[in-house]
């Protein structure tokens, strides 16, 4: 072969190499996970995404593994995302068309990943399983349905109240029960202060914690007297600023601050103030407000720790109520390639046996079926069993998340003196739109 011919051949090889390599790369990059485009049977591998806030075993993981073990050939790929970024992660994935088959959602419209918001956008598939309709608690249909169809299956009843360290309280001579009053609580604040402690631990720099304190008070002081406040606000009949019960709720927080109920430096404290302050064998506070499923996590983390669930006490003469909400649940992606499998999975999750296992793992209450309460719920058993004394999260059907954020931020402002009660309520009205 002449030198020139050799050069020509080399150039031809180089010229053809690029498109061949590109074609191979594109073929390698094509999706191959779980799809079966050539067969009429739908894929038996589905993806499940959910939120996590700590390292504890997720009930979704437990239930998914159980489903796989009892349904041969099915694989459930799990994706756990931090609660801080879950909302934007899931909505971005759904909008981009590559969302998971099944994923955790929260009822109503108050969150970015709110069920009604996603259903309005056509991103969810209606749920059809025969067990699923029974999971919606009475009176909360508006959180899980849209235009008459159910789009979310709630997975547990989530009580929110006080995580209470009775051992630490009694060591300081403080005795509070579920039937105590707000006035009893103020006296206990004074007693705790005399011992160098504080009744409440508060993460004042975290709007979610300050907000949850406010709604735990409001469930008794506002919604115990005005159960239709949200509907009246939505129709313009009332406002937060004009409502005397909302004023009383926020004034309670101001009074708590003035009476020394919160720990020193509460306005700038983080979540560590809650776990270290209350969830410790050397607790310096007795209570903090949170979804009380965290009791199980804290007791598992600190051997020998015993905690209880308490309601936020109502003023004397008023009924003490608790938030018991079926907020968290599962939904199906409207674009799932496994519609039958996903519907079957959720229908199976709605069975009493699975509901019981979910609640036992999470430390909350089962969504269906009747089971013995976990020991920590003993003080509030009478409240939880009385439907007139429980209600969902007030913000679940607020129009957007800014209203709840205005409330949480406003409570911090009350603690630092930057805002008055009226200013906070006005900011909530402004955020409502």
């Amino acid at each position: 072969m002449t030198q020139q011919a050799r050069r020509v051949r080399t150039r031809l090889l180089a010229a053809t190499a690029l498109p061949v390599v590109t074609a191979l790369a594109l073929a390698a990059c094509s999706s191959g996970g779980g799809t079966d485009s050539g067969s009429s049977k739908e894929p038996q591998t589905i993806s499940l995404s959910y939120m996590i806030a700590n390292n504890a075993t997720s009930p979704y993981e437990v239930l998914a593994k159980k489903y796989e073990s009892t349904h041969k050939g099915v694989t459930i790929k799990l994706t756990a995302t931090s609660v801080d970024s879950y909302g934007q992660t899931i909505t971005t994935q759904l909008q981009a068309g590559n969302g998971p088959d099944v994923f955790q959602v929260q009822g109503g419209t108050g969150q970015v990943q709110g069920t009604v918001n996603l259903a309005k956008a056509g991103l969810l598939a209606p749920l059809t399983g025969k067990n699923i309709a029974a999971t919606i608690p009475s009176g909360q249909e508006n959180l899980f349905t849209y235009k008459g169809k159910q789009y979310e299956m709630p997975v547990e009843l989530l009580p929110t109240g006080l995580i209470y360290n009775d051992v630490a309280a009694k060591a300081d001579g403080v005795t509070l029960t579920a039937s105590s009053t707000l006035q009893d609580m103020y006296k206990a604040c004074t007693t705790a202060r005399s011992k160098g402690h504080a009744l409440f631990a508060l993460a004042g720099s975290i709007s979610q914690n300050t907000g949850i304190v406010a709604v735990a008070i409001a469930i008794s002081q506002v919604y115990g007297k005005e159960p239709n406040f949200n509907a009246d606000r939505a129709s313009g009949k009332t406002t937060f600023a004009a409502d005397k019960y909302w004023k009383a709720t926020l004034q309670t927080i101001v009074d708590m601050k003035d009476k020394g109920c919160f720990q020193d430096g509460a306005a700038g404290a983080g979540f560590d103030a809650l776990t270290n302050g209350v969830g410790s064998l050397n607790a310096t506070s007795y209570a903090f407000t949170a979804p009380v499923g965290a009791v199980a996590d804290l007791e598992n983390t600190v051997p020998g720790l015993k905690l209880e669930v308490m309601p936020f006490w109502a003023p004397k003469g008023e009924k003490t109520r608790m938030i018991v909400t079926a907020d968290d649940g599962l939904a199906i992606n409207a674009k799932t390639k496994s519609p039958k499998l996903t519907q079957d999975f959720l229908n199976w999750m709605a069975e009493p046996a699975q509901a019981s296992l979910f609640a036992k793992t999470s430390g909350d209450l089962p969504i269906v079926g009747t089971n013995a309460l976990l020991p920590q719920y003993e003080p509030v058993k009478n409240i939880i069993d009385d439907k007139s004394l429980i209600g969902p999260f007030p913000y679940s059907d607020w129009p957007n998340g800014q209203v709840y954020d205005a409330l949480g931020t406003g409570v911090t402002g009350l603690l630092t003196g930057q805002a008055t009660v009226d200013q906070v309520l006005q900011s909530m009205d402004q955020a409502w739109g």
Binding site: T91, S205, G265, G268, G413
Partner: protein
Amino acid sequence: MVTVVTETSVNKATSSSRRAAAGSGRASGPRRAVPLIKYGYWWWALPAILLVLAMVYVTTASGAFFAFTNWTGIGSFDITGIANFQRIFTTPALSGALWHTLVIAAAFVILTNLFGLLFALALNRTLKSRYVLRVLLFMPVVLSPIAVSYIWKFVFAYNGPLNAILGAVGLGSWQHTWLADPVSALVSVIVVMVWQNIGLVAVIYLAGLATVPQELEEAAALDGAGLWGRFRSVTLPMIRPSLAIATTLMLVQGLRIFDQIMALTNGGPFGATETLATQIYKQTFTYGQFGFGAALALVLTVIILVFAIAQQYATRSRDDVSR
């Protein structure tokens, strides 16, 4: 005979190559092999150019488009015109965020450049341990801003080391909820930002100071110029390019500050440390107001551009002016 033919052929080939070379302007000589790969073609940059266009400019333009809509990140949207921009300038909380952005940026630029220049002057010459000190000064720069902020959050905590030290040295009256007071929270954020970036500015100025001839300073000293006189008349004019670079970088960084605020205060207490950057994040990702968040981002971009251009104009050299 063959040799004569061969030589004739060679002569002809040489002549023809010489003529060809003469016509093309190349030096004559044996014909060289054409390389398979030639370097420097402009279209080699095309893939990278397309990637930058798609990932930066197209996305920026689409983001700018959504600033004129009410898109929530999911579902459909309506064109709302300038409603989002009107809302920015009529919402007190957002006006406050704009003000905090400017205050933080101004304090950040001034303090980092002041302390950075002072450290650079101190570590430029003479000091034997200057190389070790330069390393120590630069170390915070390489740390993650989020990690640094969380450590400082622990320092500023009510039960943290700062209050403990103040109590231990008899300054208990100075103990404070540093991150829960609207004024001290803003100051704390600035302190953390400045602390982490002094080293970067010092390095920029050290590079500039290295170009200042020592003889010029000695000559000025011999002419009777004092320390300040030598700095103002000799050093400062020669490090003007470093000044321009340092102030521009710190200005841009200060205007778009985000990590430190989210870690230290999350914009609190009660919005006292909210900036445009934190509001962009909250409006877009926490509240799902993508259209409004895009409008905020557009406003912040314009602000950064205006300040950056103004700063470049202010620090241009005399040579640039005279051209």
